[in-house]
């Protein structure tokens, strides 16, 4: 029997449905995404059973890095017209006799990550386009009693936005001494209510165990 020669053809795969599906997923992701902000320090939050979601607005967040550096972040308020960030910076500038230009204030308004820049270097930080320079200036807000800039930030943040709430986002490995210092500073400014940012974890206790 002679062999039947099959014509060698490249198989046609119709990719259209796949492309369709990809488009749908892509559009979904693009619309639902809220970008994760790059933070100046990597922080693994501890776990808790709390299920209250983080509010979107009126928050000042203190980022406590494991090496004891403190960063701070606050939002622009529920409406962008309110523009709390540049106002707070302006107040800080007045306190430390630094005049910030329009462009610098605008940049600060749009800068979403936490900041840990000593106020005297703030102008340099806002002026530069180089990310490396920026990172090298992000060394943590001074919190020692001689130069307590964190207290000033808290003071002006609360002055500009009276309904601001304090949030603490710490790494599990951060030493308690740092946390205590930040809590102390907050309490000095009459903030007694804190929100600790945690990740969700399930914990169950069964009835039998208690009845034993």
């Amino acid at each position: 029997m002679p062999k039947i020669k099959l014509p060698t053809q490249s198989p046609h795969i119709d990719m259209t449905p796949m492309v369709d599906l990809f488009s749908v997923v892509l559009i979904f992701l693009m619309l639902t995404t809220t970008m994760r902000q790059p933070e100046p320090a990597n922080v693994d939050t501890p776990f808790s059973i709390s299920e209250t979601p983080t509010p979107d607005f009126n928050m000042m967040t203190f980022l406590l890095a494991p090496d004891g550096k403190v960063f701070m972040n606050f939002d622009n308020g529920p409406d962008t017209i309110l523009a709390f960030r540049p106002k707070i910076l302006q107040e800080m500038g007045k306190r430390y006799e630094i005049e910030f230009t329009e462009a610098e204030l605008r940049f600060f308004q749009k800068y979403k990550s936490s900041i840990g820049v000593p106020i005297l270097q703030m102008k340099e930080f806002l002026g530069t386009d180089d990310n490396n320079v920026r990172n090298s200036l992000n060394i943590g807000i001074p919190i020692d009693s001689a130069d307590n800039q964190l207290a000033m930030w808290i003071l002006y943040a609360r002055q500009v936005n009276p309904s601001i709430q304090a949030c603490i986002k710490g790494d599990s490995e951060t030493e308690f001494a740092t946390v205590e210092r930040v809590l102390d500073i907050l309490q000095e400014k009459n903030v007694n209510r804190f929100n600790l940012i945690t990740s969700l974890e399930a914990a169950k206790i069964n009835l039998e165990e208690i009845q034993q």
Binding site: H12, V19, F22, L26, T32, P55, F176, E188, L196, T198
Partner: protein, 227 residues
């Protein structure tokens, strides 16, 4: 390769020159879309972080006005957060004079840890009645016996807590070498066990000493609370 297949229509009409269906190579587009999807999936924060609220007692600016809160010593349980994930607990209270006395009069310090068999068992043991009532109530809500809104679940539980007068009064104090994770863990443990009254207070110098002795740390000189 991908292609768009076009159906030929109108076979009965005029004879035209045979049209080739246009071949569009979709591979680069698919590649790009894959990349974008991966990018968005990695940068999307799907689950939002949760918050746990704590309220600290107001600081008293004038120390002369400070009055020690009157709480019954038999219900008091002190939790000292030590270094390396250790917890020390002791009942009652210690006065500085008692520590300085020779020999010091110290309550037994009990060492435990953050595991469910450690501190959770201890807390549930002390808080049996209330924990059981809360757990039973939750069970009834989950199983559908009681149908109320989540808000009233919360308020019912907080009512149960404020009515309770058998559970322990927990004082939490953190040694400076404890970490933030321990702090959150212990507050979380209080929530899990349904402890009605707990308080976070500053550690005293003699409690620091007690932790140091128990954990075998040579005391540091930085302790500013030392008289």
């Amino acid at each position: 390769m991908a292609e768009i297949i076009q159906e030929e229509k109108g076979k009965g009409g005029k004879k035209r020159a045979k049209k080739h269906p246009p071949h569009i190579d979709m591979t680069p587009m698919v590649d790009l879309m894959c990349l974008l999807i991966v990018f968005f999936m990695l940068t999307t924060a799907f689950n939002k972080a949760k918050i746990m609220e704590i309220i600290l007692p107001e600081k008293i600016k004038d120390p002369t006005k400070q009055e020690a809160p009157r709480i019954s010593a038999s219900r008091t349980l002190n939790i000292l957060l030590g270094p390396d994930g250790k917890i020390y607990t002791y009942p009652g209270s210690v006065k500085p004079e008692e520590y300085s006395a020779v020999p010091p009069i110290l309550p037994p310090l009990n060492e435990t840890d953050y595991s469910p068999e450690g501190i959770r068992k201890l807390m549930l043991d002390k808080n049996k009645t209330l924990a059981r009532r809360i757990a039973e109530f939750r069970q009834e809500v989950v199983s559908g016996k009681i149908q109320i809104s989540p808000d009233s679940v919360r308020s019912t539980i907080s009512k149960m807590k404020s009515d309770d007068d058998t559970g322990p009064i927990v004082l939490i104090k953190a040694y400076k070498k404890a970490n933030y994770g321990n702090f959150v863990d212990i507050l979380d443990e209080m929530n899990i066990c349904g402890i009605a009254s707990y308080m976070f207070t500053k550690i005293t110098w003699y409690e620091e000493k007690m932790v140091e002795t128990a954990a075998g740390i040579t005391p540091t000189l930085s302790s500013s609370n030392n008289p």
